[in-house]
C-alpha cells in the first residue's frame, strides 16, 4: 500500500543512487575495485602486454614548476597561483561548426541552461558543446539504460566506480565506443600534445581488450582513503596524533565523552585495515612474498583489524549516528566537534575544510601521518587505480569528427598554469572571478551557480593539488602527507590489467561483509570469524583465488 499509493511504479534501483549508496558501498565494503559479472561469465582480463603497445607516448605538458613536488604517483602541489599563464591551444578545436553532445556527471545543483561559463569556453574552442549534466548519484542507472539501449552522446564521461556497476561493459565498450588506438597510439598522440601530457599509467588503464578506448582522467592521489583528525582540538587538549594502534585506541578513549555528545571516531574501518597491514589493492586480492595469491580476509592482519573495530564498537568510541546509519553525516559531525577522527576519500579534504574554516576560524583538518599497528611494523597503503574517470567517443562518427572530438579533449586536458585551465576551472575574469592581491582567482556567486566541472571531467588533466585563499596550507599539507605515505604503497601485481571477476564470486562478497559487520558490531562473537572466512572460501573465495592467480599466470607475473 505504501509503495503503490504513490501511483508510480518506477524501478526501485533508483533509491540507491538517491541515498548515495551506489558509491557508499565502496566505503563500507572495502571492495575498492568492484567487479562486473553475469550468471555464466568466466570473467575477463586485458593483458598488460596488449596494453603496452597501444598507449600514447608520454610528453610532459607541465608548464609551471610545482611548489611542492609530488613523489609519483602523488600529484604536484601548488601553493602560489602562477603570475603569467600560457596559451596552450592556439588553434580552434571545433572547426566543423557542428555542436558536440556530451554527458557528464555532477554532484550538485545542475547549472542553468543559459550559462556564461559554458559560452566562454565554447567561444574559446570555436564551437558549441551541449552538455547533458547528470546527477552523479543516479548516473549509474542512467548509464546502464543508455548503454543497454545503445543510445549514447558523442562524448560520454563514465566514472570508474560506475563502470564496475555496468553490465557487460567489456563487451559494451566495443559495441558503442570508438577505438582510439589508430588516433593516439605511440607517436600519433603528438597531434594532440596536451593528451600526450597525461600519465602513461592512466592511459594503460584505458585499454579494453587490447584497444585504447577512452581518454582517462588521472587520479588526484593514489590513496583511496585518508585518516583525518581535528588538529586544532587535539592541540588544544594536548593529545598527540596516534602513531600505533594502541595510541589510536587511547585517542578514542580521550576524545569520547558521551555526556557532552562527543565521540572520538566516525567510520575509520578503511584506515584500520591499512594500519593493521592488511593489503589487497586489487579488489581485496594480493600476492604474498612466497608467490601465493591471498585475499585480505584470510590474513591475520585483517582479523586483527576486525577485532580492533569490535573493541571500538563495544566500548562505544564510534559516534552512534555513524554506527547506526549509512546516512550518518560524518562531515557535519566532524565540523561540529562531535567526532574528531574519521576516514574518507582524499577529495573530502578540500571539500570540507574551506566552509568549516568560515564558520570556525580555528578549524584545522589534517591527515594523520601514516602509521603501522605497532612500532616497527609498517602499514600498508592500498593503491587506487591510475585513472578514475574516462571519456568515451561514440562509435562510427567517422575519422574527421573523431579527430575533431579528440581536439576538444586535447583542449580540456590543458594543464595547470594555462589560460585554458583557468577558463575551464574559474570561468571568465571579471564575470566569474576576480584576482586577489597575489593574482589568485577568487570566484563569485555566478561561478558557483554556473560551474559544474563540465569541461574538466571531459578531458582529464595532469592532476595537481591546488589550495585556495581560505586554506593556504592545504596544497603543502596534502602533498607532504602523500609523499610520506608513498613508501608504504602496496604494489599491485594486477596493475594495468583490467580484471572482470566472474559472477558467482562477486555475489559472495556482500554476505561475507554482512557477517564481518555483525562481528564488528558485537552481534556475533569474535569466535565466529574463522567460520565466516572458511564459509567464504568454500562459497566461492577459493574459486576467485584460482581466477586471480590464473590472470597473473597468463600475464607471466
Amino acid at each position: 500500500m505504501r509503495r503503490t499509493l504513490s501511483g508510480a511504479s518506477t524501478n526501485r534501483r533508483n533509491f540507491l543512487g538517491l541515498v548515495g549508496l551506489g558509491t557508499a558501498s565502496l566505503a563500507s565494503g572495502g571492495a575498492l575495485a568492484g567487479c562486473s559479472k553475469e550468471p555464466t561469465s568466466k570473467g575477463s582480463a586485458t593483458t598488460a602486454e596488449q596494453a603496452a603497445g597501444v598507449v600514447p607516448n608520454f610528453k610532459d605538458s607541465t608548464l609551471v614548476q610545482p611548489d611542492v613536488k609530488g613523489v609519483r604517483p602523488m600529484a604536484d602541489g601548488y601553493v602560489k597561483y602562477p603570475a603569467s599563464l600560457a596559451d596552450a591551444v592556439t588553434e580552434k578545436a571545433i572547426t566543423s561548426g557542428k555542436p558536440v553532445t556530451a554527458s557528464t556527471p555532477w554532484w550538485g545543483p545542475a547549472p542553468p541552461a543559459a550559462n556564461k561559463l559554458v559560452e566562454a569556453v565554447n567561444a574559446d574552442m570555436g564551437g558549441v558543446i551541449n552538455f547533458s549534466i547528470q546527477d552523479g548519484n543516479t548516473y549509474g542507472d542512467k548509464l546502464n539504460t543508455m548503454l543497454g539501449a545503445r543510445d549514447v552522446p558523442e562524448l560520454t564521461c563514465i566514472p570508474g566506480w560506475e563502470i564496475n556497476k555496468l553490465a557487460r561493459f567489456s563487451e559494451g565498450v566495443h559495441a558503442l565506443f570508438e577505438d582510439l588506438t589508430p588516433y593516439l597510439a605511440g607517436d600519433k598522440v603528438n597531434a594532440y600534445p596536451l593528451l600526450a601530457g597525461l600519465d602513461t599509467k592512466a592511459w594503460q588503464d584505458s585499454v579494453w581488450g587490447g584497444k585504447l578506448m577512452a581518454v582517462p582522467f588521472p587520479t588526484d592521489s593514489p590513496y583511496p582513503s585518508v585518516l583525518y583528525y581535528r588538529k586544532d582540538a587535539a592541540d588544544e587538549r594536548g593529545i598527540a596524533a596516534p602513531t600505533t594502534l594502541d595510541e589510536l585506541y587511547d585517542f578514542g578513549k580521550k576524545f569520547t565523552n558521551a555526556d557532552k555528545g562527543e565521540w572520538a571516531f566516525g567510520d575509520i574501518w578503511l584506515e584500520v585495515q591499512q594500519i593493521c597491514g592488511a593489503g589487497g589493492s586489487e579488489n581485496g586480492w594480493m600476492k604474498t612474498a612466497d608467490g601465493k595469491v591471498v585475499h585480505r580476509h584470510e590474513t591475520p592482519e585483517y582479523k586483527r583489524a576486525v577485532e580492533f573495530m569490535a573493541r571500538l564498537y563495544a566500548e562505544k568510541l564510534i559516534h552512534p549516528d555513524v554506527a547506526a546509519s549509512k546516512g550518518g553525516d560524518q562531515t557535519t559531525l566532524f565540523k561540529g566537534s562531535k567526532i574528531f577522527m574519521y576516514a574518507t576519500g582524499g577529495g573530502s579534504w578540500k571539500e570540507t575544510w574551506p566552509s568549516a574554516v568560515q564558520a570556525n576560524p580555528k578549524f584545522n583538518m589534517q591527515a594523520v601521518k601514516v602509521f603501522g599497528a605497532d612500532k616497527g611494523k609498517p602499514p600498508v597503503r592500498w593503491q587506487a587505480r591510475s585513472a578514475i574517470i574516462w571519456t568515451f567517443i561514440k562509435k562510427g562518427l567517422g575519422q574527421e569528427r573523431t579527430q575533431e572530438l579528440l581536439r576538444v579533449l586535447n583542449y580540456t586536458a590543458a594543464p595547470f598554469g594555462t589560460k585554458e585551465w583557468e577558463l575551464q576551472n574559474y570561468g571568465a575574469e571579471g564575470t566569474h572571478f576576480q584576482r586577489d592581491g597575489s593574482g589568485t582567482p577568487v570566484t563569485n556567486d555566478l561561478w558557483t551557480k554556473e560551474f559544474a566541472n563540465q569541461y574538466v571531467f571531459l578531458g582529464g588533466r595532469p592532476p595537481v593539488v591546488v589550495g585556495g585563499p581560505t586554506i593556504p596550507t592545504y596544497a603543502a599539507d596534502f602533498v607532504n602527507w602523500g609523499n610520506d605515505a608513498t613508501q608504504y604503497l602496496e604494489k599491485n601485481p594486477w596493475d594495468g590489467i583490467k580484471v572482470e571477476t566472474p559472477s558467482q564470486q562477486a555475489a559472495i562478497e556482500q554476505p561475507t561483509q554482512d557477517k564481518i559487520t555483525d562481528i564488528q558490531r558485537g552481534r556475533t562473537p569474535l569466535g565466529d570469524f574463522d567460520k565466516v572466512i572458511s564459509d567464504w572460501k568454500a562459497g566461492g573465495g577459493d574459486a576467485a583465488r584460482d581466477f586471480y592467480a590464473k590472470v597473473l599466470a597468463d600475464n607471466g607475473r
Binding site: A8, W107, A149, P224
Partner: protein, 311 residues
C-alpha cells in the same frame, strides 16, 4: 425528518441533534490521542524548519539537527531559489502535474466506471489486465526503448504517459463506484440515460470525495516523480522540480565522501550549509502539499445524502 430532530436542544457545536452528548472521558481520550499524533508529526517538522533556517555555524555546533532557533538565516532558501533552474522546474512540474492529473483522472474514472458492473462482457479479463500491472513491472531498458522510440525524449509527455495509470487508484475508485446502490442505475436507465450520462450525473456527484482523493494521489505522484526525468529528460530547462531539489539534497554526497580518490573542484567552495539546504528542500516540497490538501478536504463534508439525488 423524524420528529425528534425538530426538538433542537440548546447547543453550540455542529453536533447533529440526534447524536448524544460526548462523554467527558471520550473527549479526553480523543483529545489525548490526537494531541500525541499531531505532536509526533509537528516536533520533527519543527526541527526540520528550524534547521533549514540555521547557519552553518549553528548546525555544526549542534552536530546536525537544530532544536532551538538561534537566528533567522534564509541563506538556504536564497541558494535554492537563485539556482537558476528552480523557476523553470516549478513551471515544468506544475504543467506536468496539472496535465497529468487531468489525463490520469479522466482515463481512470472512465475505466473504473467501465469495470464497475460485474457480469458485463470481458469484465473479469479486463480487471485482471489492470490488476496484473500491480504485480509485473517493466524493465528500465525496454521502457526507455519504447519512450524514445515514440520520440518522447526531452518531451514532457515522457513524464506523464508512462505513469498515467495506477492500477491501485483504479480499483479503489471502482470499489467506490460499485458501492453506489443499484437502484440509482436502474432508475436512470429507465429514464433513458446513457452510460456517460449516468457517470457524470449520478456516479461522479456521489463520489466527489473519492475522486478528489484519487486526484490527490495522482497529483502527488506526478509532483514527486523524478526518476523518469533522469531517464528521459536531458535538457536542463525541462527538469521537474523534484529532480532539481534532489540535486540540492545530494550535493554533499561527492564521490570522495565514499572513498574515491578525487577532489571535485567547486564542491567545497560554496558556502551553503548542506544540512540547512536539505531541510529547506523538504520544506519547499511540503508547501504544495499544504496548499492542495484543503481543496481535497472540502469534499469530505459529511452528509452526502443518496436520497437527495434520487428524489
Amino acid at each position: 425528518m423524524s420528529a425528534d430532530t425538530a426538538v433542537r436542544p440548546r447547543r453550540n457545536s455542529l453536533r447533529p441533534a440526534w447524536e448524544e452528548k460526548p462523554t467527558l472521558l471520550g473527549q479526553f481520550g480523543k483529545g489525548t490521542i490526537l494531541t500525541v499524533v499531531v505532536a509526533a508529526v509537528l516536533v520533527p517538522l519543527w526541527v526540520v524548519v528550524i534547521t533549514s533556517l540555521s547557519s552553518e555555524k549553528t548546525i555544526n555546533a549542534a552536530g546536525g539537527y537544530v532544536f532551538l532557533p538561534r537566528e533567522f538565516d534564509p541563506t538556504a532558501y536564497v541558494v535554492i531559489f537563485s539556482g537558476g533552474q528552480i523557476t523553470d522546474a516549478i513551471l515544468v512540474s506544475t504543467v506536468v502535474t496539472i496535465a497529468g492529473t487531468a489525463l490520469s483522472l479522466f482515463v481512470t474514472v472512465l475505466a473504473a466506471y467501465g469495470l464497475s458492473r460485474p457480469g458485463t462482457l470481458g469484465h473479469k479479463p479486463i480487471l485482471f489486465y489492470f490488476l496484473l500491472t500491480f504485480l509485473i513491472y517493466p524493465g528500465m531498458i525496454p521502457s526507455y526503448l519504447v519512450v524514445t522510440g515514440l520520440g518522447m525524449k526531452d518531451n514532457l509527455l515522457a513524464l506523464i504517459l508512462p505513469t498515467a495509470i495506477s492500477a491501485f487508484n483504479l480499483v479503489v475508485l471502482r470499489a467506490f463506484f460499485m458501492s453506489i446502490p443499484g437502484e440509482l442505475y436502474d432508475s436512470a436507465r429507465m429514464d433513458g440515460a446513457g452510460e456517460l450520462r449516468i457517470l457524470t450525473r449520478i456516479v461522479l456527484p456521489l463520489s466527489k470525495a473519492v475522486t478528489a482523493v484519487i486526484g490527490l494521489f495522482y497529483a502527488v505522484g506526478y509532483w514527486n516523480a523524478f526518476f523518469n526525468a533522469i531517464l528521459y529528460i536531458d535538457r536542463n530547462d525541462l527538469q521537474p522540480v523534484q529532480r532539481v531539489l534532489q540535486q540540492f539534497i545530494l550535493a554533499g554526497q561527492s564521490p570522495s565522501t565514499s572513498g574515491a580518490a578525487i577532489a571535485i573542484p567547486g564542491l567545497g567552495s560554496s558556502v551553503p550549509p548542506s544540512l540547512a539546504i536539505k531541510m529547506a528542500v523538504v520544506v519547499v516540497t511540503i508547501v504544495p502539499a499544504l496548499v492542495i490538501y484543503p481543496f481535497v478536504q472540502r469534499h469530505f463534508t459529511k452528509g452526502v445524502i443518496v436520497g437527495a439525488v434520487k428524489g
